[in-house]
């Protein structure tokens, strides 16, 4: 039986990709950014922690989806996905290989569980998906895990509520536990933490709010799932709303235990947050 063993959350700041792709990780600006991933790299390299599959919850940044079609929740079911060209050429990363049996299994169960998924068989994936892979797996010739992409709209409002995202995670968990093969599955939530990329208020960072969010991933998940969008917008900046994707991860876990935390300001315009949660019983 497949099992979700851990949840991993991380910001997906494009600059992290630039740092890795251009070999700048040791430069003084980048060093504290990357240092916080060392623990995770070591942890995930251990055979007992290595995931067979990562369910990677991210948002598309107007790369695969423009205004012509805007799915609220989408799941990638194709064999593989390619890195998107976001305006500076595609990131030089390996192809993203899916586990289509598991992806379709999850898609079927989510729809039966009344999540109105959009199934995607052709899409390029942008920094929201590839930066977390690079931050945690480095620069291998092939990604060491299969990836099931789950895409959440956080661009055009209204987006799904945090609570709906949390329940999507709960439904993903039930689906994974029904999958007949023995698989070590991790769920990753990406994006955030506080940042704002637009307007005169750009550069907003709320370290106190972010740290409480990190604390409550284990201390008070019930509070987190009830946070309304307007609170993210006011407290964590207009792009801090990406944290709803962490709630999908959180919903898929049971009594998570914090194994590792990394928080650093700034990474580009963003408060970088990263956490590793062991799944409990």
């Amino acid at each position: 039986m497949a099992k979700i063993t851990a949840g991993v959350a991380t910001s997906h700041v494009p600059l992290i990709g630039v740092g890795i792709d251009q070999g700048k990780c040791e430069e003084p600006y980048f060093q504290p950014i990357f240092a916080g991933y060392d623990w995770t790299k070591e942890w995930i390299a251990k055979p007992e922690n290595r995931p067979d599959v990562v369910i990677l919850v991210y948002n598309d940044h107007a790369s695969a989806f423009g205004q012509e079609i805007i799915p609220t929740f989408a799941i990638g079911c194709a064999e593989e996905f390619t890195s998107a060209d976001e305006g500076w050429g595609p990131r030089p990363v390996p192809k993203i290989k899916n586990h289509p049996d598991l992806a379709w299994h999850i898609a079927e169960n989510l729809i039966l569980d009344e999540f109105d998924m959009t199934i995607i068989n052709e899409m390029d994936v942008d920094h929201g998906l590839t930066v977390p892979l690079s931050a945690i797996f480095g620069q291998p010739d092939a990604w060491p895990a299969l990836i099931v992409p789950i895409m959440i709209n956080v661009v055009t409002y209204p987006i799904a509520s945090g609570d709906r995202c949390f329940r999507l995670g709960q439904s993903i968990k039930r689906a994974v536990e029904r999958f007949p093969s023995d698989l070590n599955v991790q769920i990753w939530g990406t994006g955030g933490m506080s940042h704002q990329l637009q307007g005169p208020r750009a550069g907003l960072i709320n370290q106190k709010w972010d740290q409480t969010f990190l604390d409550d991933l284990t201390a008070d998940p019930e509070r987190l799932r009830q946070i309304p969008h307007i609170e993210y917008l006011r407290e964590a900046g207009s792009e801090g709303i990406e944290l709803v994707m962490w709630l999908v991860m959180l919903g898929a876990l049971t009594n998570p235990k914090e194994l590792h935390r990394h928080y650093h300001v700034p990474a580009s315009n963003t408060a970088l947050g990263h956490i590793v949660l062991e799944n409990g019983k």
Binding site: P14, A62, R201, A202, G203, I205, N206, S238, V265
Partner: protein, 134 residues
Amino acid sequence: MDRNNQDYKAAFGDIPGTLVFTAERARKGYWLNQFCMSLMKPENRKRWLANEQDYLRDWKITTEQKAALLARDYNQLLALGGNIYYLAKVFSTDGLSFVQAVSTMTGMTVEDYQAMMAAGGRSPDGVRSIKEGK
């Protein structure tokens, strides 16, 4: 949770220096944003950089939007329905980083903006709510 759109959107206008990308903005900026997406193709970036005015002629975007694009006036582009994830294709094509482009919207120099970020970023105090001034 707000279960109707008017209640849901009511407070969006109360956040200082922030434009939430609602349906109203998405509709206003539709072709502006779709134009941005066209820059995901290298051949289009080349054509755009070679002759911006010429490239824009194919797109159903307003004179105001065109002027703001040519001037790289990102605050104006947001006001005219642009969304930053779309507009990122324009500044990426210019070879600018997010920090370089984003700083232009704040009235600060890149250096001052970077110094603010290095010092912990912009505090939310005073910019949470226009009405409540907190």
